[in-house]
Amino acid sequence: MIQINPDLCKGCYICVEICPKSVYTVSSVTNKKDIKLPSPENENNCIHCHLCELECPDQAIYVEDKK
């Protein structure tokens, strides 16, 4: 499961660019700073490399490991 924290996200969309499996897309949902949040649309493609967690400058992404 991928979780994006709307309070921390600043909308730089590095996650959209960096993901090797193109999991993220820019959604129309906004947070209180009126920033369009990225959403893990293709979550089934996720290979749990945790690169988005590492590359997110605002620590706004959490990727749960496979059980």
Binding site: N5, L8, Y13, I14, H50, L51, L54
Partner: protein, 297 residues
């Protein structure tokens, strides 16, 4: 989908506890003051990942910083920290390390802080080979004060103080500290976070002066002036223009000017400064150096 009883169990764990890096932060300071897409956040993550894999104790860590955007990092991490005067982070860190040789001291500094006003302190800390890990976040511009040219701005780059492009030759920080005598040097960009965290781990474990340069993006000032408006376009540029040091031999000097050479450059052994001082004290007076610390009485 997860089962009902499972989901209620996970609801009790807050987001702060789940994210692998937020547990090291002072949570009341979040979100950070950095601009959207700033490379400093990526450097913090890479540092924490490298720190975790080095097996060091977070309670034994001290962070020192000077002035600049990058120097705000110690204020966000929940460990002992010193926010000192401009360019003098390394002087304070030298004092801290000599007074408390058991502490793990890490210095966060920017390109203006380390190369411009603190250039002298940088080369002398490297000359002494004192056991510090210096992480220099190089964004090629003075971001905090409004986008002036810094000593590492590439030739021809635009800034508030260089509307026709910079005419100066930039500093090569790795060559500078290597010549001064650093025992571990590495350069990576924010587009290489895994390699960077590995280098930070090696730097932390190295008993001597370790210098890691992180080529980082400043979309607000450097990017906007140089036709790289978004953080994504800057990350793409780093990926395209970086070249591993193994492949440098195939390129001419002119081609190398527009490239960022990445890799670990130096990893050697040399006697460390605080060890030398301890040996001298034993030889001349037969006892340890006097320590004044909150930890060791």
């Amino acid at each position: 989908m997860v089962e009902d009883n499972e989901s209620t169990e996970t609801d009790f764990i807050t987001y702060e506890e789940k994210n692998p890096y937020i547990k090291y932060f002072r949570k009341d300071r979040l979100p950070t003051i950095f601009c959207s897409g700033c490379g400093i956040g990526i450097t913090i993550n890479s540092f924490l990942k490298g720190f975790e894999s080095s097996g060091m104790d977070f309670n034994n860590l001290s962070l020192v910083s000077g002035i600049g955007c990058s120097s705000r990092i110690p204020g966000y991490l929940n460990c002992d920290s010193l926010h000192t005067s401009h360019g003098r982070a390394l002087s304070f860190a030298t004092g801290l390390k000599v007074g408390n040789p058991d502490l793990d001291v890490v210095v966060f500094t920017g390109d203006g802080d380390a190369a411009a006003i603190g250039g002298n302190h940088l080369i002398h800390a490297a000359r002494r080979n004192i056991n510090l890990t210096v992480i220099c976040i190089n964004n090629n511009i003075y971001g905090m004060t409004g986008g002036q040219i810094s000593p590492t701005s590439p030739e021809g780059s635009l800034a508030t103080t260089a509307p026709y492009g910079s005419i100066d030759t930039p500093f090569n920080l790795i060559d500078l500290v290597t010549a001064a005598g650093a025992t571990f040097t590495g350069r990576w960009t924010t587009a290489h976070p895994l390699q960077l965290s590995n280098s930070i781990k090696n730097g932390l474990l190295n008993n001597g002066f370790s210098f890691i340069e992180v080529v980082s993006q400043c979309p607000t000032y450097y990017g906007r002036k140089n036709k790289l408006k978004t953080p994504v376009s800057m990350i793409k540029m780093f990926k395209e223009s970086s070249i591993n040091k193994r492949k440098v031999g195939t390129l001419s000097e002119k081609e190398l000017l527009s490239k960022i050479v990445i890799g670990e450059f130096v990893n050697k052994k040399r006697e460390e400064f605080s060890n030398k001082l301890e040996n001298l004290s034993h030889k001349e007076s037969g006892r340890n150096t006097i320590r004044k610390s909150a930890y060791i009485l």
